[in-house]
Subunit: 174 residues, 2 copies
């Protein structure tokens, strides 16, 4: 079995979550599996090894799972992009659209510095709403985005359209 | 400067968060700092190297930051203990008391197996409410708890009282 097939076999389909008709891709079994998780992190690290990345940006909270382990592996730190009201110091925030209504994410103003090479990490690329908002936040602070890394991409939702101009890599595509 | 002094210097005091009179210990600068974060993970791994740990249990969401990097370093997987409604498959949950009202955490029923040696990880031990609830969940699934690992402990809140009978280790104590 190839490494990618092993990772794919660790992802669980859960029908009708969070609502009827949605087939949810559950990464919990992958995170529980030592070989699956380590292979995932090692593959992501290899794919961005030549990017010059200086800081990971992790999207709360499943982005922390992969982003912080990847940061450890690559020897860099992680900027935390969190839901509103969680970060205690001075923050910048950006709103983004959901299917119904809006949500927003926040980042400390000093989480990245101007010109810093940043790799955005999340578990899954769907419509790209959250990741696109993350890019906006990072760019507003002057970050140079080297790319976006996902474990899973739901390509039929065309999330890459929200991340135009940025290299995007996903390990597993549905 | 010793490794512990370096880690301590990366933790930021934020007054009056989340409410007036509270001095918040902000781990964001530590997570952003490559040396600080890697030293933290390496020290935690060294302290539990002989514990026989087979799985980390990470508490959402700051526990994911340290727990998943530690799991990568130690070559084990991570069980995700999450806020209600986030986990898609069959779950068990437990309620715990807050200063006002209650909260609860959930875990997939198959996140640990009976007899599995589990290390609970979170960023900070305060009153021990969340970590104590995590221990209950893990034990209800038959896990053998080898210990609880924290980056920071606020010892004046006596959180260890909520974790009786379990080895507890914190890198930094206030």
């Amino acid at each position: 079995m190839s490494d990618l097939d092993y990772i794919r076999a660790c992802i669980r389909d859960v029908p009708d979550f969070p609502k009827p008709g949605i087939l949810f891709k559950d990464i919990a079994p992958l995170v529980e599996d030592a070989k699956g998780f380590m292979t995932t992190i090692d593959m992501m690290a290899a794919r961005w090894a030549d990017s010059g990345v200086e800081r990971i940006a992790g999207l709360e909270s499943r982005g922390f799972i992969f982003g912080c382990a990847l940061a450890y592996k690559m020897g860099v730190g992680t900027a935390l992009l969190r839901k509103p009201g969680k970060l205690p110091s001075d923050t910048v925030s950006v709103e983004y659209s959901l299917e119904y209504g809006t949500d927003s994410i926040e980042m400390h103003t000093d989480a990245v510095t101007s010109g810093m090479k940043v790799l955005l990490v999340d578990d899954l690329l769907a419509t790209g709403g959250t990741a696109g908002a993350g890019l906006k936040l990072l760019r507003a602070q002057g970050a140079h985005i080297v790319g976006c890394a996902f474990v899973i991409e739901l390509s039929f939702l065309h999330g890459r359209n929200a991340l135009e101009g940025v290299p995007v890599d996903s390990l597993i595509t549905y």
